[in-house]
């Protein structure tokens, strides 16, 4: 039954038995075996047979069980040559060494994850690595997390029940000078939870291991972290990520790698006896980024070479290409928006400038119109002035009479006042027309009123030219929003044009008809119809072009200005010939709502 002892010179079978004391579910065990298997496979040039015995010796370790296990293993591995046995943990090593003489007497053994103090006496072909947890590491880590650290709360099973931490009781004494320890070891869960929730500010929690709940120390970490009011320091990497802030922790991977290295050296022919067992420091400072954020610990305060896990990458780390692309797009857009705004501003300035110029030209055009009307206006103005003078002189005559004719004097004074008012009205109308303006004086007014005003100015001229002027206003008010002076100018220009067109018609046929209406599109429509010869059909559009004129002294600006004004207020203007002969100019303006007075 005993396997053949291979000759020293013979190469060892390329097979490894992993003799693991841990439970198949412990995080540590899983990580250790995964790292071990992958290191073995990676390091072996030829294929390797790997057997695993995961024994859960922490929970199942009676002498009777050990006997059964021995029988079981003997049966199981009969005819299965083993090159190297890897023992994981001190208990596994101890049992293995007990079984070895019978089962695998000459098979070299490599052990790992054994506390140096628990190391039994070793035969020469047994080698491996040991390590030792130390409280010093926990204190160092706690200081990094809590700068004003004075106290450390110790949480876990009593140290004598923790295989890897039995020696902590001695270490406590040497550290007591530096830090005060709050002993929460072995407390019932409920009490423990209360205590860790009410720790002083200058303290940290050092969680070692609690096996009593599930058998797996890590399972207690979230339960503590949930209520703890201080950061939790650990010495085992598997606690990190479950609520522990971190610490200088022992890692399974480097132990597994070192163990695999030794096993491979032996498989490759190196005598196990020549590879000395050695202690190793398999720790590394590892911290949970999320917990560091929670406890507001700066990464600079951590021990040098610390590994930060679970870093939640910022937007930049996670999506920096997307961010760069988005920023670029935004920048380009911003630049374009800026450029468009700039262009818009330039355009607005140009529009304002051109509008100002149009107003200047419009003003000149009004001045010209007023000049053309000056004879009529002078005539109109001299009527009341003449009346005033005559009345005044009559009054002088009457004052010399005796008795005074007071009645007539009163009449005279009333007439003077009336005539004076009339003269003032004429001047007001004229001034309105000539007023120079840089900005539109937008008002809401009735088109019918504006036409009545324009007619007031036009009537004397029409009389002079023997033109019959007629107005047919819509029965309802036609409110529009515009500058009334501009609208008057439009009417004046169109009316003067009409009268000019009739200069060669017989006086009896000279008729100028103004009409206002609300058209079917609910726009205000004004038409000015003359009885002249009309417009040539092909010039109906051209008449509105700048510098189009048929008159000797015309500037060709009148109708162009008229169109500009109408379009400024959102209206349209067009020319046509009336069925009865003569030209009709029509324009529309949007209807405004006249505010109730």
């Amino acid at each position: 039954m005993v396997p053949e002892i291979p000759a020293a010179a013979e190469p060892l079978p390329r097979s490894v038995l992993i003799f693991d004391q841990s439970d198949s579910n412990t995080p540590w065990g899983l990580e250790f075996r995964a790292a071990l298997v992958s290191a073995l496979k990676a390091g072996s040039p030829t294929s390797l047979v790997i057997y695993s015995e995961i024994l859960d010796l922490g929970r199942f370790n009676s002498p009777q069980y050990a006997e059964l296990l021995r029988t079981y293993l003997r049966e199981k591995y009969q005819g299965k040559p083993i090159g190297v046995i890897i023992a994981h943990g001190a208990t596994a090593l101890e049992i293995l060494l007990r079984f070895r003489a019978e089962l695998w007497s000459s098979v070299p053994v490599v052990f790992g994850a054994v506390d140096s103090q628990n190391l039994p006496r070793l035969p020469p072909d047994v080698t491996g690595t040991t390590f030792r947890l130390t409280m010093r590491n926990a204190v160092t880590a706690a200081r990094a997390l809590v700068p004003n650290l004075r106290r450390i709360a110790l949480v876990g099973e009593p140290f004598e029940r923790q295989p890897f931490r039995r020696h902590f009781s001695q270490e406590l004494a040497s550290l007591a000078a530096e830090v005060e320890f709050i002993d929460l070891l072995g407390l019932p869960t409920a009490e423990l939870r209360t205590r860790v929730a009410t720790l002083p500010d200058d303290s940290a929690i050092y969680y070692t291991a609690i096996y009593s709940i599930t058998g797996i120390p890590r399972d207690a970490v979230p339960m503590l972290a949930e209520v703890a009011n201080r950061p939790i320091v650990s010495d085992t990497v598997t606690h990190i990520g479950y609520g522990s802030t971190g610490g200088i922790v022992v890692l399974p991977e480097p132990i597994a790698q070192e163990t695999a290295r030794r096993a491979l050296r032996i498989l490759d022919g190196e005598p196990a006896a020549r590879i000395r067992p050695a202690g190793g420091d398999f720790t590394k400072p590892v911290f949970d980024w999320r917990q560091l954020q929670r406890w507001k610990v700066s990464e600079r305060a951590l021990p040098p070479g610390s590994e930060i896990r679970f870093r939640q990458p910022g937007l930049w780390e996670q999506y920096h290409w997307v961010v760069i692309a988005a920023l670029t797009v935004v920048l380009i857009q911003a630049a374009m928006i800026f450029w468009l705004l700039f262009e818009r501003r330039r355009r607005r300035l140009a529009e304002l400038d051109s509008r100002r110029r149009i107003f200047e030209v419009a003003h000149l055009n009004r001045a010209a119109a007023a000049g053309a009307l000056s004879a009529s206006i002078a005539h109109e103005l001299n009527q009341p002035l003449g009346a005033i003078l005559s009345n005044a002189e009559t009054a002088e005559l009457l004052l010399r009479a005796n008795p005074l004719d007071v009645g007539q004097l009163k009449e005279i004074l009333a007439d003077i006042r009336q005539a004076d008012q009339r003269a003032a009205d004429i001047i007001t109308h004229l001034r309105q027309l000539l007023k120079k303006r840089s900005e539109i004086d937008l008002q809401e007014f009735n088109v019918n009123d504006a036409i009545a005003d324009a007619i007031h100015v036009l009537e004397p001229e029409a009389m002079q030219r023997q033109v019959a002027l007629s107005v047919d206003p819509a029965p309802r008010p036609l409110p529009v929003r515009a500058d009334p002076v501009h609208l008057q100018q439009v009417i004046l220009n169109l009316a003067m044009n009409g009268m000019d067109a009739m200069a060669s018609s017989p006086p009896a046929e000279r008729k100028l008809a103004l009409q206002t209406a609300l058209n079917e599109r609910a726009e205000v429509e004004v038409s000015i119809c003359d009885s002249g010869p009309g417009l040539p059909r092909d010039k109906l559009k051209e008449v509105f072009e700048t510098f189009y004129t048929t008159k000797q002294q015309g500037t060709g600006l009148g109708l162009s200005i008229v169109r500009t004004i109408i379009e400024t207020y959102g209206g349209k203007i067009w020319a046509d010939n009336a069925a009865a002969g003569g030209a009709v100019f029509r324009f529309t303006l949007p209807l405004a709502e006249l505010r109730p007075a």
Binding site: A375, S376, A378, H379, E380, L381, N382, Q383, P384, L385, G386, A387, I388, L389, S390, N391, E393, T394, E396, L397, L398, Q408, I412, D415, Q418, A419, R422, P460, M463, Q464
Partner: protein, 213 residues
């Protein structure tokens, strides 16, 4: 207003001015007749009384100068003073050439207006005087016998008695007697005076035309 006071016919479309000027003229001692348009004046033409027309130039319908022309056609002798709100030189010149007494601009001061009206009235008076004299001369001539008329026509043309007798186929003595009767009826002493009357009445030209025609 006593009858015989001159009547100023004011034609102006502007009611307030019409009223004002009427008031002034009445206060200055004239009778005033008001017309709101030229047509209205033509409808009710002024009577034979002394006066003048104060006429606006620019009015709806018939204008001032047009009225002036119509009145001239109908032989209305009333002098015209134009009064306008805005007078340009061509209009003024045409009006004066057509016989207007004056061409005034509104506003017009009382003195200028009254002076112009007085001149117009004086002219009216002169024209009336002249017309009266011509009428009396025509009345004298109306008393001539046909033969006396023939003799008178030839005498004022400077024909000798012998020539007249030959032209009329009568004797020189008969002509001489007719000539004496004519001079007596005309109450003139010399041939020159008789010629002047004939000239005034436009008889010389008429005779000429009849001869040539």
């Amino acid at each position: 207003m006593t009858p015989g006071t001159p009547v100023i016919h004011v034609v102006d479309d502007d009611a307030s001015f019409r009223a004002a000027v009427a008031r002034l003229l009445r206060a200055s001692g004239y009778q005033v007749a008001l017309y709101e348009s030229a047509a209205r004046l033509l409808e009710t033409p002024p009577g034979n009384e002394a006066g003048c027309i104060l006429l606006d130039v620019r009015m709806p319908g018939l204008s001032g100068p047009e009225l002036q022309a119509r009145l001239a056609e109908t032989g209305n002798p009333l002098p015209i003073v134009f009064l306008t709100g805005h007078g340009d030189v061509p209009t003024g010149v045409r009006a004066i050439k057509a016989g207007a007494e004056d061409f005034l601009l509104k506003p017009v001061s009382k003195n200028v207006l009254i002076e112009a009206i007085q001149r117009a009235l004086a002219r009216d008076e002169r024209m009336r005087e002249q017309a009266r004299r011509l009428d009396s001369m025509r009345a004298l001539i109306a008393t001539f016998t046909p033969r006396e008329r023939e003799v008178f026509a030839l005498v004022v043309r400077g024909k000798l008695n012998k020539q007249i007798a030959y032209e009329l186929g009568t004797s020189e003595r008969t002509v001489k007697a007719h000539r004496q009767a004519v001079m007596q009826k005309l109450k003139v002493q010399s041939l020159a005076e008789a010629v002047a009357i004939a000239e005034r009445l436009g008889m010389l030209a008429a005779t000429d035309r009849s001869k040539n025609g």
